[in-house]
Every structure is written in structure tokens, then in C-alpha cells.
């Protein structure tokens, strides 16, 4: 007789099981939401470095400042800010869904496109303001 703890004969589906679906915009946005979240997780080290260096002394600050002003530093910051705004708008989209709105096809497509475009617009807007006030 089989043990009650025996593994099931057929493997039960596990998340993620993305490969069985045709790629749609809302699905791609869900994946990008998770990827940007992961990137922001790592990017927090940059904020920590900036704060710790500023709390130490002028030479530590000069090092982090030089890095942030370098081409690579600016590219990372630009990517970080886009990831932040994209993820933030994706979060707003989720809050709208949590409130019970926006589930119909035109609405969820509109929300996905709005997140995509809004994230880019906000990033460019913030960087334009940044370069203007600098």
C-alpha cells in the first residue's frame, strides 16, 4: 500500500507557469513590475552608500558624488528612477484593482499603457527639472 506521504503521481502546477500563455501587454507589465521591483531592491544600496558617505566625511562624499556624476552613475540613476516611477505607477494600478475597478478589457489595457507611458514621461520630466534647477 502506498504511503500517505508518497509524492503525487502527476506533478501539480507550480507558479510561475508563464510559458503556457500567449504574451499580452498586461502580462508583460506584470513581469516588468517584478523585474523593476528586484532592480530597485539592489538599487537601494546606492541610496545607502550616498547617505552613509555623506554622514562620514568630505572624501567619502566626494567618492560617491564623483560616481553619481559619472556617465555610468547617471545611467544607473536614470535606470533607477525609471524603474521607480514604472513600479510606482504599476503599484497605483494594483491599488485601483484592489479597490475593485479597472478589470474590463479596455480599462486594463488603458491602465497598462498608462503605466508604461507614464513611467517614461515622469522619468524624463524629473530629469529635465533636475538639469534645470542644478
Amino acid at each position: 500500500m502506498a504511503s500517505p506521504n508518497a509524492a503525487p503521481t502527476r506533478a501539480r502546477p507550480l507558479s510561475p507557469h508563464l510559458s503556457v500563455y500567449r504574451l499580452t501587454l498586461t502580462m508583460a507589465m506584470s513581469i516588468v513590475h517584478r523585474i523593476t521591483g528586484g532592480a530597485l531592491y539592489v538599487g537601494t544600496l546606492l541610496l545607502a552608500w550616498f547617505l552613509i558617505a555623506t554622514s562620514m566625511d568630505a572624501s567619502a562624499f566626494a567618492t560617491v558624488s564623483a560616481f553619481l556624476h559619472s556617465i555610468i552613475g547617471r545611467l544607473i540613476l536614470f535606470g533607477f528612477s525609471w524603474a521607480w516611477f514604472h513600479h510606482a505607477l504599476g503599484g497605483v494600478r494594483h491599488l485601483i484593482w484592489d479597490a475593485g475597478y479597472g478589470f474590463d478589457k479596455p480599462e486594463r489595457e488603458w491602465l497598462a499603457q498608462g503605466t508604461l507611458i507614464g513611467g517614461l514621461v515622469l522619468t524624463i520630466l524629473i530629469w529635465s527639472i533636475g538639469y534645470a534647477v542644478r
Partner: protein
């Protein structure tokens, strides 16, 4: 588990329709709560960072040492890190299984905890030292 032998019901049948293991909704709620809090905190944080752009070392320290920017940055860091810790936890629970999952969950908490304390300590040090 020894208890499994006391019943003919399969482990799956025992847990079916019982919902999450009591605390799942709490994590979901905290994710929504921190998301909502991060919207105004993002606006405030961007405002603080903008004000630092034209400043040198002493100027940045003076600005971050003021009460309002210091509180904004600390709130942003604490709420943000709490939020990302829950997010990474759900990523780990989705993709990792067994021993590697346990190590990753531990590393996630250590990373978030160390980062949160280090950032808050840094802001306090800028203001008070």
C-alpha cells in the same frame, strides 16, 4: 509528519479550502499600506533630492540635517525597505524551494534590516554629529 498516519485523508485534502495559513492576509495588507504610503513619500523624497543637486558636501549635510528633510528621508527609507522586503519575500516563495528558500528568506531579512539601520543611522549622524 506523524499526524499524517492518523487519517486516511491526503495532506492536500486537509488544507484545501482553509485559506492562507492565518497570516497571509496581513502580508497582503502591509504591502498595500506601504504602497499607498510610498506615493506621497516619493514626491517628498524627490523634492529633497532636487534640493541637494546644486549643493556641495557642507550644503548637502546642512540640508539633510534639517528636521523635515531628515524625517522624509528616514520615512522613505524605512517604508521603502519594509515594502521591498515583503516583495522579495514573495519572489523567493514563488521561485525557490527547500533549503535554498530558507537561506534566501534569511538573507532577505538580514539585507533589509542592515540596510534600514545603516540608512537611519547615517541620517541621524548627518543631523547630530
Amino acid at each position: 509528519m506523524a499526524a499524517d498516519h492518523d487519517s486516511l485523508r491526503s495532506p492536500l485534502a486537509k488544507v484545501r479550502y482553509l485559506g492562507s495559513a492565518r497570516s497571509g492576509a496581513q502580508e497582503n495588507w502591509l504591502m498595500r499600506l506601504t504602497s499607498a504610503a510610498l506615493i506621497p513619500l516619493t514626491v517628498a523624497f524627490v523634492w529633497v533630492m532636487m534640493s541637494l543637486l546644486s549643493k556641495d558636501y557642507n550644503g548637502v549635510r546642512a540640508e539633510l540635517g534639517r528636521p523635515l528633510p531628515a524625517v522624509i528621508v528616514m520615512l522613505f527609507v524605512l517604508v521603502g525597505i519594509y515594502h521591498m522586503q515583503i516583495g522579495m519575500r514573495s519572489i523567493i516563495l514563488d521561485y525557490l524551494h527547500g533549503q535554498s528558500k530558507e537561506w534566501a528568506l534569511m538573507a532577505n531579512l538580514f539585507f533589509a534590516g542592515i540596510l534600514a539601520i545603516a540608512c537611519v543611522y547615517a541620517v541621524l549622524r548627518i543631523g547630530f554629529v
